[in-house]
Structure formats: C-alpha cells, structure tokens
C-alpha cells in the first residue's frame, strides 16, 4: 500500500479569486506581511500497487484523467513508502 499526497494548483497565469479574497481577509486580520495567496486542492490517495513505479504511474493517470483540469490546473504528488492502511 502506498500513500500519494496529491496537490492540485492553478496555473500561475490563471486568476484565483478565492486566493485574492483570502489575501484580503488575512490583511484585514492584520497579517500585513502576506503578499500572495493561491488556493489549491490537497488529496490523500491510498493505492495498492506492486511497487512504487506502478503506484506512481497510476496516480499520474488519475491526475491527468480526473483530478486536475489541464486547462487551468497543474498537479504534483509525493509518494510515501509502504504505509499501513488507516484504521
């Protein structure tokens, strides 16, 4: 069992109204040091695969097919060595 931590983020050129609103909120709270906020998605996916390469290939395919929309989003992921299933 492998654990993939997948990050889906907007491409740098794509406007991020949610990030801008969060930026405004942080400024309102007094965090004047904040220069930029970009919001994305984080997914944890447990994959049953014979080895890390196979797991990586599967997660890559999942990202391309469903998890990220290539028109506006990019993805990256980290794969953890065999981890016990939760519960």
């Amino acid at each position: 069992m492998f654990l993939a931590r997948v990050y889906v983020t907007l491409k740098p050129a794509v406007n991020d109204p949610q990030g801008l609103t969060i930026l405004g909120g942080l400024h309102t709270l007094g965090f004047a040091s904040v220069e930029q906020v970009r919001m994305g998605k984080y997914l944890e996916i447990r994959v049953d695969a014979p080895d890390a390469d196979a797991a990586r290939a599967q997660v890559e395919a999942m990202c391309r097919k469903l998890l990220a929309n290539p028109v506006i989003e990019e993805f990256r992921f980290e794969l953890d060595a065999p981890a016990p299933a939760a519960g």
Binding site: V14, N15, P17, Q18, L66, L67, V71
Partner: protein, 235 residues
C-alpha cells in the same frame, strides 16, 4: 422533433426543459437517465442545469464519466445537436466537447438574476430564429460561470465565430458592468467548431412564457425546431 433531456443525480432544470418542450412547444421529449447508454432516437440532447454529483471536485468533472456521456459524445461526433445549459455547459467543457472551462465567479458570489445577452451569431441551429445582434433577456443562476480559456483558444473562438452569446447592457453594448461573473470577453455561450454543440450559462428554459417574466428563451428552442425542419426539407 425528438428531444432527450439528460438527468444526473443533482440535476435541477430537467423539468423546466421538459415543460417548455412538451407543454409550450408541443415537441416529443423524454428524460434520459445518466445510467442509460442509448439516446432513444433523440434529434437533440439537452444537458440541463443543476449540480450534477454535487459539483464535487469541479463542476461537471464527474458527470462526464456517466454512462450516458459516452452516447452523447458519439452523437455529437456524428453531428447530433447537443445543448448544454449552465451545469450542462460545465459538463461539455469538462468532457472536451467544448473548449475552455467555467471557473468560480470572479466576485465569488452565486448570482441569480436577469441579464441581457447579445446574439452574436444567428446562423447556428441554436440561434437561427434570432436576428444577428438581437438583445435577449434571460436569467442566470450560477456560482461558476466565469468562462476562461487561454489566449490562443480565445483567439480561435473569435476567429471562427464560435462565440454565440455575450453578456451585454440593455442597449446591446458589451460592457464590463454587464458581465455578471468575470467571463473573458463577456462570453455567455459558445459552439464547437462544427456548430452542433452549444454551451451557455443563462437559462433559456426558465424564460419561455410571459408568466415567468419573459419569453426570450423560446428563441433558442424554436431555433432548434426550425433547424430540424430545415434538415428535413420541410421549410
């Protein structure tokens, strides 16, 4: 003309579409459940508005894997007429049947209001009953209608005349103030390159009788009926 109205879990405009086609326009219409794989001989398939699969992950992202969507894609590839309204537009973009994507509204608000649209093209099967440049009044009801495509795709859409509807002021001018969601170039509706698949954010099915505040939406459905009669050589 035979219409098929696709119903996903979470679709909410299916009954409005059915009502307009059946009761107002006296056309043959049936619902198509998302698990079906056959379009039942429909001449035109409508993907109505709503929140298919709860809009989870991204609006329209999961609906595109529903069994019915394989049949819709084959139908579109053969030149069949497909109309996606609101969530239907989002599904068509996620499916790759239309270019671009509908992002979160720029101001992050859900907007339920009347807007004005300018019909940029009256030569599609979805707008043939309109005059070029005609201003229509229709409601919108969405949180993610902010049309985005990269510069190259946008230029291509404009060059090929694929932008069918733009948000405009009451006098037809394309202004920033008339744009309810931040859509690039005030885009409210586009067709594919072949002209047989249209996606639009406004809801024509909700304005087809004076009783509900306006009837401009009828022009979209009348255009479809007209185009099918033309195809049959009846007019």
């Amino acid at each position: 003309m035979k219409f098929g109205v696709v119903v996903f879990p979470g679709t909410w405009s299916d009954m409005d579409c059915y009502h307009v086609l059946d009761t107002v326009l006296h056309q043959e219409v049936r619902y198509l459940w998302h698990q079906e794989t056959d379009l039942g001989g429909a001449d035109c398939v409508i993907l109505p508005g709503g929140f298919s699969y709860g809009d989870y992950l991204r609006a329209g992202a999961l609906a595109r894997f529903a069994p019915i969507m394989g049949a819709v894609a084959d139908f579109a590839a053969r030149g069949g007429l497909v109309l996606g309204i609101c969530n239907g537009f989002q599904i068509l973009c996620e499916s790759g049947l239309l270019p671009g994507v509908l992002m979160r509204n720029r101001h992050l608000q859900f907007r339920c209001q009347w807007v004005h649209l300018r019909a940029e093209r009256a030569t599609t099967p979805f707008s043939g009953a309109m005059q070029p440049g005609q201003v229509l009044r229709m409601p919108i009801s969405h949180g993610e209608g902010n049309y985005y495509a990269d510069a190259e795709t946008l230029a291509e859409l404009e060059r090929r005349g694929q932008v069918v509807f733009r948000y405009c002021a009451a006098d037809g001018r394309i202004t920033e103030g008339a744009n309810p969601n931040g859509a690039l170039r005030n885009i409210a509706g586009i067709v594919n390159r072949e002209g047989n698949v249209l996606g639009m954010m406004p809801h024509p099915e909700r304005c087809c009788e004076p009783l509900v505040g306006g009837a401009d939406g009828l022009l979209v459905f009348q255009s479809l009926v007209q185009s099918s009669l033309k195809a049959l050589g009846a007019v």
